[in-house]
């Protein structure tokens, strides 16, 4: 492929991914409301459009039309910058996650990911950790005590979970011997999914991902009953929408990342042996990836409406005294597996 073709394909993929991302964020909000309603014996939004399917757009228009309020005590520049960071991080992280095997179209072999970089996993970890700056800065620059408390909680939470998250990923990296997401997916051939090989690592990573995306039971930076709205108490209109969008986009990224690391990525076990045409196989694999992601996203929503929030000290306890040792045990477990069975 010539350079021009590479750029064109990359641009098409970027536009598609960002578009799909934004639409799916909108529908995540819709499904969040639906799932919450179902869990409480209600019906949920069903007025705007067929079965309420246009509800997210109605919500968006409402947010656009709201007045943008900046408090007097706020640091205006940082107050504006914070939601931008949140959105930027949320929308750019997806670049390195593969959502399918190579697509063979005519003479072109198109890898189904935007950037096949060698340090993909590090890139994701780095960017998702950047997201915490958005929250901390938002809390700090708002000039309100509740926002500040939310921001502080967010950074404390990040420190205690990033560690166990990193160690859980180390278990995966030991097996795949590469930081390339594509290589990690390929290392989980057949049923050799990391979720089955290292269940402890899977659980610690899952829990850390919940903490990383600020979802319940770890939504301490928001904590509506205690902190009004936490870090976004003083935000309104589109700046608030930015945080809102980023939260759901982060959920999508987190579930895509979990699928890549632990659930075999886009692979359908032993599909190669069925002898399907390459294009059909690619489409099926892409479908499998979306299906796994959808299940995980439902799990995110399901957990939110089932579990109560952790207390601040309980969260620290869990992070440092439970998750951290567990992720270390996981590394030892994987090392033993490699030593004995030579996986």
């Amino acid at each position: 492929m010539s350079l021009l073709e590479i750029i064109i394909f990359a641009l098409i993929k970027i536009v598609l991914i960002v578009g799909v991302m934004l639409v799916s964020v909108a529908y995540m909000v819709y499904f969040e409301r639906k799932v919450s309603a179902w869990a409480q014996n209600r019906i949920g939004p069903n007025r705007v459009g067929w079965k309420g399917t246009l509800q997210p757009f109605a919500d968006l228009f409402k947010l656009v039309l709201k007045e943008d309020i900046v408090p007097d005590n706020a640091d205006r520049k940082i107050h504006t910058l914070a939601p931008v960071i949140a959105l930027l991080v949320a929308l750019s992280t997806y670049a390195v996650i593969p959502f399918g095997p190579e697509l063979k179209l005519g003479s072109y072999n198109i890898p189904l990911l935007v950037a096949d970089v060698n340090i993909g996993v590090l890139f994701i970890l780095a960017l998702t950790s950047l997201g915490v700056y958005a929250i901390t800065l938002a809390g700090w620059s708002s000039g309100s005590k509740y926002s500040l408390l939310g921001g502080i909680r967010s950074s404390a939470q990040m420190i205690s979970y990033e560690v166990s998250m990193g160690f859980s990923v180390a278990g995966v990296l030991l097996l795949s011997e590469s930081l390339r997401p594509m290589a990690i997916v390929e290392s989980q051939y057949g049923w050799m999914w990391n979720a089955f090989i290292q269940p402890i690592g899977f659980i610690t990573f899952l829990v850390s991902a919940f903490a990383e995306t600020n979802r319940l039971p770890f939504d301490l930076p928001e904590a509506e009953p205690e902190l009004v709205g936490g870090f976004h108490t003083e935000y309104s209109s589109m700046k608030f929408a930015g945080f809102f969008l980023a939260e759901y986009a982060n959920m999508i990224i987190a579930s895509a990342f979990i699928v890549t690391l632990y659930l075999g990525g886009w692979q359908i076990p032993y599909i190669q042996e069925l002898g399907l045409s390459p294009i059909l196989e690619t489409v099926l694999c892409f479908g499998a990836f979306l299906f796994k992601m959808a299940l995980l996203l439902f799990f995110f929503l399901w957990v939110r409406w089932s579990l109560p929030r952790f207390r601040y000290d309980q969260l620290m306890n869990l992070g440092w005294k439970v998750m951290f040792p567990l992720s270390l045990i996981n590394i030892v477990w994987v090392a033993i597996l490699i030593m004995i069975f030579g996986l």
Partner: protein, 167 residues
């Protein structure tokens, strides 16, 4: 004698409770089961709530079959009303009952639906209806005169029977 220190406190968790995961699974399965249960929501403008006879909706005046109200304008309801929502102007007629309210107004912005007027009425002339759809766009509309208050006795039979039984 047994000391308190050895007793197991209720808030002490067992081992299985301490490792969270079985408890989390229990909680998740409960919500999942709830998701498939029938919904409680009543889709209001399409489906309307039909209240029982004991329901205290907006107070109305009972209108006999011959088109005359039962009210004799004694003023007890206006006297007992804690929110001072009722205003009556009495007058006399040549009918058998001699007295009737020339003006009977209930300010629905003031009414608190306590039902005292109904309780105190010696003639069973003012009763609480099942009507709960009360919306106005200005204060003038909220003052209900006789035109809105008079309701044929047939429509209120439910409530009147209820009152005879329990009042």
């Amino acid at each position: 004698m047994e000391t308190n220190t050895k007793r197991r406190r209720i808030k002490d968790l067992s081992f299985w409770e301490k490792i969270y995961i079985p408890e989390i699974v229990k909680g998740l399965s409960l919500t999942l089961r709830t998701m498939f249960k029938p919904k409680f929501t009543m889709e209001y403008p399409e489906v309307k709530f039909d209240p029982p006879a004991s329901y205290r909706g907006r107070p109305v005046l009972v209108q006999e079959d011959n088109g005359v109200e039962r009210c004799v304008a004694c003023g007890l309801c206006a006297r007992v009303c804690p929110a001072l929502a009722i205003e009556i102007q009495e007058a006399e007629t040549n009918l058998e009952k001699e007295r009737y309210p020339e003006k009977f107004e209930i300010n629905m912005l003031r009414c608190i639906f306590c039902g005292f007027c109904e309780e105190v009425c010696p003639e069973e002339a003012i009763v609480m209806s099942k009507d709960y759809e009360l919306a106005f766009t200005n204060r003038e509309d909220a003052i209900y005169g006789k035109d809105k208050l008079l309701v044929p006795v047939k429509k209120l039979q439910d409530r009147i029977d209820f009152l005879r039984q329990y009042k």
